[in-house]
Symmetry: C4
Subunit: 201 residues, 4 copies
């Protein structure tokens, strides 16, 4: 099953690489060459930067999690496709939010897609841990997923706050991105600890 | 020839990853930010979900089948490209069906493309089995391909039923997807059996 | 330098996979759902099939040629990018030719791009042979490249014949594709002979 | 961490392959089939050739640099994503510059994106050298990065010169591309020297 894990990683990388890149196709080329032509692009660009960070974060965390996995099964393959499905909707809500200058409904929908991505990621993590056992390195490293739970909480708050003003929601999406930009050291550290323990034993 | 098999898998994964992702480009960003703006997107989204499942299923089964293969030849390379050709038409019929809210002709054409994909997959399977021998693990695992034959039968029924009402056809496409969402355990189980037999011998 | 060859193959596969797949984006979804709506798509589809075959042929031959290579150098990297450049223009001339129902100028430009691809491929082959030596397995397998020279001759004839009627040119493009659809056994056979000789020695 | 480096290379290759290929989608298919219809495409094509060379150069240099690296860390992962972000803006400025026939502002913005790419590449190089140590093979090979510093200088000059006439700026972008088209032999040569030294020792 090692080959299956490798091909799952390669396929996921391919899809994520395409998702992160096709977003740039939504940066519509302005017909004018005046400096003022760039002004309506600013919110589109802010959306793009935010989503680029999110997709980058997912690639990074997905990579670390699969790295710690030894093998996969059928349910994990489908949970992974489920995550890729919600990731694939990010370009759509990114463009909708950016082109409409952070209007309320697109900002809320953006948050909804982020929540669904977080849930899809949790399902994938849950199935991977179940597959490897509660006492596995992977389960140990993933821990109680505090960061993931906090993220979902902030997303929900962001959606609620968007009813006051969508910019608060947008700000909170940047907050979550900032939290995750610190790479997921949970698994990395545990892996290092594990290696050290083995060396000392 | 092992390298050729690896590169065939990588190339197929790349094409399938692009097919599954570019479909999202057909989700046209609405200009309005009213909730009502999302209503015409619902059928497009339903089409997208259906096709995402189908392309995911093909990736999954293609992966399992190639995994069981030891090597490939020229005819298999071309049969694989033939399958990729029909897979590449899925985004086209998906968009046509979704944007026209499941009108009769697009639903029928969607079924036609699914049938051609099923036939292309059967040709690929046939050539792989012929290449590995009738008594090979791959031939044994693929069996009489009951699931594949049933699928083609349901596709044909779906096309016929679309003349009564296209929603019946659409429903039947979801039925086939559901049948396949259970991962192809045929090959997986046989592989396990084979391993166990070897261990017992 | 073995890793460089591997990454060159992976990068080329990625670009070729994208080229073969984005062509489908030119299949514009018709707004009507009448059967007559599919009629203007027929020439677009014929163009698509032709180009799908050509890109598939290039992937296949590129794969076999690189497979026979032991290593690459800087000049080969650039010759490969040069080939990818001309391959990347195939979707453009494909769409232009198909949407204009095989009008004269697009058919001629299609032939021009095919000639440039053939030349770019020859340059790549020449540099690979020079790098491996005139007596190498690769040089021996590539031979005098009769098929490649015939192809360029037919492309030129097709362009000339398009001044009489573009359909003659189009027909000749299909003839060349048919010639190449028989996989490049030159290298494959030589590799087999070489293996046999080694076994007999 | 060797697997992480491999997956970083594969992901980067995927993104760069998509960037270099989606630029062709900006080559809008002309509706006319007259020879005059190709005239407005000429500047778009010149832009495309220039950007194809630049993305090719970045792929080439990125490949050589990562090849010399033994491992990566979290900061390097993010510096790499930062580089990919600026690379992903190349199709946007390419289309803007080409469609507006090298008007002043798009030419300046093109130079700005090139500068940001050069800076992002320097940050990645700096972090890789810091990670491997000042006396590492990678640090030795990268040297004082004269070519990179000269490039940034020429980009800045090109932007300034575009205020006189944008064609001077455009010409200077071609000059930098020409400088880099000679593959980055710095690392390659040092690697060879290193191997020779080891053999002599």
């Amino acid at each position: 099953m090692g080959i299956t894990k490798g091909r799952l990683e390669a396929f996921s990388d391919g899809v994520i690489a395409i998702i992160i890149t096709i977003m740039v196709l939504e940066l519509k080329v302005p017909h004018s060459t005046e400096l003022s032509a760039l002004q309506p692009i600013i919110p589109v660009m802010i959306s793009y930067v935010l989503s680029f960070m999110y997709v980058g974060i997912y690639w990074n965390n997905h990579h670390h999690m699969l790295h710690a996995a030894r093998s996969v099964n059928g349910a994990i393959l489908w949970a992974n496709l489920h995550l890729l499905f919600w990731l694939s909707l990010i370009p759509f809500v990114t463009a909708w939010m950016g082109e409409n200058h952070f209007a309320q409904l697109p900002v809320i929908m953006y948050g909804f897609v982020l929540i669904m991505n977080a849930i899809a990621y949790s399902i994938l993590a849950y199935l991977l841990i179940k597959h490897h056992g509660e006492n596995s390195l992977l389960a140990d490293a993933f821990g109680n997923d505090g960061k993931g739970k906090i993220s979902i909480g902030i997303y929900a708050s962001a959606i609620a706050a968007s009813f006051i003003h969508p910019w608060i929601g947008l700000g909170l999406y940047f907050v979550v991105a900032a939290i995750w930009l610190i790479p997921d050291r949970r698994i990395e550290r545990k892996l290092t600890d594990h290696t050290n323990e083995n060396n000392h034993a």
